[in-house]
Amino acid sequence: MALNILRRLLAGVVLLFVVATVVFVALQLVPGDPARTILTGTGATPTEEAVQALRDELGLNLPLWQQYAAFLGQLATGSLGESLQNGQPVLDLVAQRLPRTLILILTSTVVSVLLGVLIGATAARFSAGRGAWWDRVVLAATSVGVAVPSFVAAVLLVYAFGVQLQWLPSGGFVPFERNPAGFFQSLILPTAALAVGFTGTVARMTRSSVLGVGNQDWVRTGRAVGLRERTVFLRHVLRNSLSPVLTVTGLQMGAMLGGTVIIERVFNYPGLSGLLIDAVTQRDYPIVQGVVLVIAALFVVLNIVVDIAYGFLDPRGRN
């Protein structure tokens, strides 16, 4: 297994290289000129000379292979380059935003997985007989959960709890060091907004998986030795149903690495996604490349963790 992890990490390095190259090429292919975009800002009028001058300064007029070599050279030294916009080291930008994104991902994952598994499991458990209404409610509610765009959830949450009731801050991020209570408060609404769809996804997967496992022989054994129904369900049905749940959880967590831009915007939460999208819409190549690489690296780690977790969920699949 240790060997396996090592192998995966090596594959991960290759993957990062591939991602780096693809991003580099992609950005070259995509129209839009960083210099022009920077100079235009919110509607200014750069002259063509100014645009060219800035391109020269930013090294955008160098031959492609030179730019690529420079980019790889930077990577080799562990640097992600500097923003074209303002010369900030990309590593600093990422280092500042990454923890916030991770915190948000973590809280919403914990909330969604707990809630989703609870909802999905109860729905499946009572899917026949007297509890069937609950199953139907869950099916409908999770459909709403996954089909309602996250900005709707986000805006409604801000509007209800931030603007109308004023129970929670309508947005912003409070660093933990500055104000622990505020820190947690500032996390509640974004977490909730992210959790809406995520919970629905987890609940659906749990429900389906539990329904499939419920008939296995070992469930009968659990009953036969006198375990309580609840115990039988938790240990012998639910536990064996978790592998697809783990999969969707891993997928969702990965998707959130660069995909929480709407939530970040609505809650004015400075995270990684916002950085990425801003960089893309301003063609700030080094930031895009840097953020994508960091996301890819996290992905590699995340996937390894998920794959190891499969082994814990089902010892048969180990190694």
């Binding site: 459909s143 709403v144 765009p149 709707v152 509007y159 389906s208 329904l211 660069g258 994508v292 890819a296």
Partner: protein, 307 residues
């Protein structure tokens, strides 16, 4: 009873039946959109952001266009693009997941790493690239979203295959001499269908929503052509002042997803021999006919004594 029969049987239950009827109607609406829609979907009028009225059942948007007509015409793009993209994603993802999960060598490693490359790639960059290379249009959208969502399927399938490939019935098929493709598609695949079905209904929802997000990059449906996704996008800006637009456009998506979910659930049930045997209201135990007589037994049998 063949799986097909049992699937059809599932459709007789009220929930799945309603869902199927809804979807059939939806397809009809999409096909006949031009005939049914009360107004042109792009004609603007000065009656902007009107509430529901006899003339405009679902009101109008900020261009004074009839919301109902836009929903009707928009269903076309949504069904085509979402269903198309989901189909592409499902097929691609399932194949890659099966191969990745079942081959232990280089192929397995490579296929799942390829999946990671796509997953690790932020959709926005990917979409930008695609639109640059292939231009905009429905085909591009289907291809883009198909590729974007395929990795999720691959991961789901991969996770399941890890478990299933070790089961003895898979080994039994191997011993028989089944080709790899047969083992993958005929032996392992049926076991991964339930989570794939769930993923299908989730992906349908995501693709409908994403088509709005893609139009942000100029990749989606080109305005003023309506699509549900883009209507949600338009409704977003107005959600606090005129929520109706957002409400109805989200509403049709929710209803469609719900219908798909119910059908997926019924399919899953129909495909699982252990679950489908059960009819909805089974008597748990049947009444016992009154009996008095017990077969006489020699109860007083002595215990054997062992030395």
């Amino acid at each position: 009873m063949t799986p097909l029969n049992s699937l059809l049987r599932q459709l007789r239950r009220p929930g799945p039946a309603a869902a199927a009827i809804f979807l059939v109607l939806l397809v009809l609406v999409a096909l006949l959109a031009d005939v049914i829609a009360p107004y042109s979907s792009i004609a603007q009028s000065s009656e902007r952001l009107a509430g529901p009225s006899a003339a405009h059942w679902l009101g109008t948007d900020q261009f004074g266009r009839d919301t109902l007509s836009r929903l009707i015409v928009g269903s076309r793009v949504d069904l085509l693009v979402s269903v198309g993209a989901t189909a592409v994603a499902t097929v691609l993802g399932v194949v890659v997941g099966l191969v990745g999960g079942s081959s232990r060598g280089l192929v397995g490693l490579l296929s799942m790493r390829a999946v990671e490359v796509i997953l690790a790639f932020p959709p926005i960059v990917f979409a930008l690239l695609i639109v640059t290379l292939f231009g905009q249009g429905e085909f591009t959208m289907i291809a883009t979203m198909g590729i974007l969502f395929a990795p999720a399927f691959a991961r789901v399938v991969y996770g399941e295959v890890l478990t299933i490939r070790n089961l003895e019935y898979v080994q039994a098929s191997e011993v028989i001499g089944s080709r790899r493709t047969r083992i993958l598609f005929r032996v392992i695949l049926p076991g991964v269908i339930p989570p794939v079905l769930v993923q299908v209904s989730l992906t349908l929802a995501s693709t409908m929503l994403l088509s709005a997000g893609l139009s942000f990059l100029g990749l989606g449906v080109v305005p003023p052509t309506p699509s549900w996704g883009s209507m949600i996008g338009e409704g977003q800006a107005l959600m606090l002042t005129s929520p109706l637009l957002l409400f109805v456009s989200s509403g049709v998506i929710v209803a469609t997803i719900l219908a798909f979910s119910v059908l997926a659930d019924a399919t899953e049930r129909g495909l699982d021999p252990r679950r489908r045997a059960r009819s909805p209201r089974a008597p748990r135990s049947r009444p016992t006919p009154p009996r008095t007589q017990v077969i006489p037994l020699n109860v007083q049998k002595k215990m054997e004594t062992m030395p």
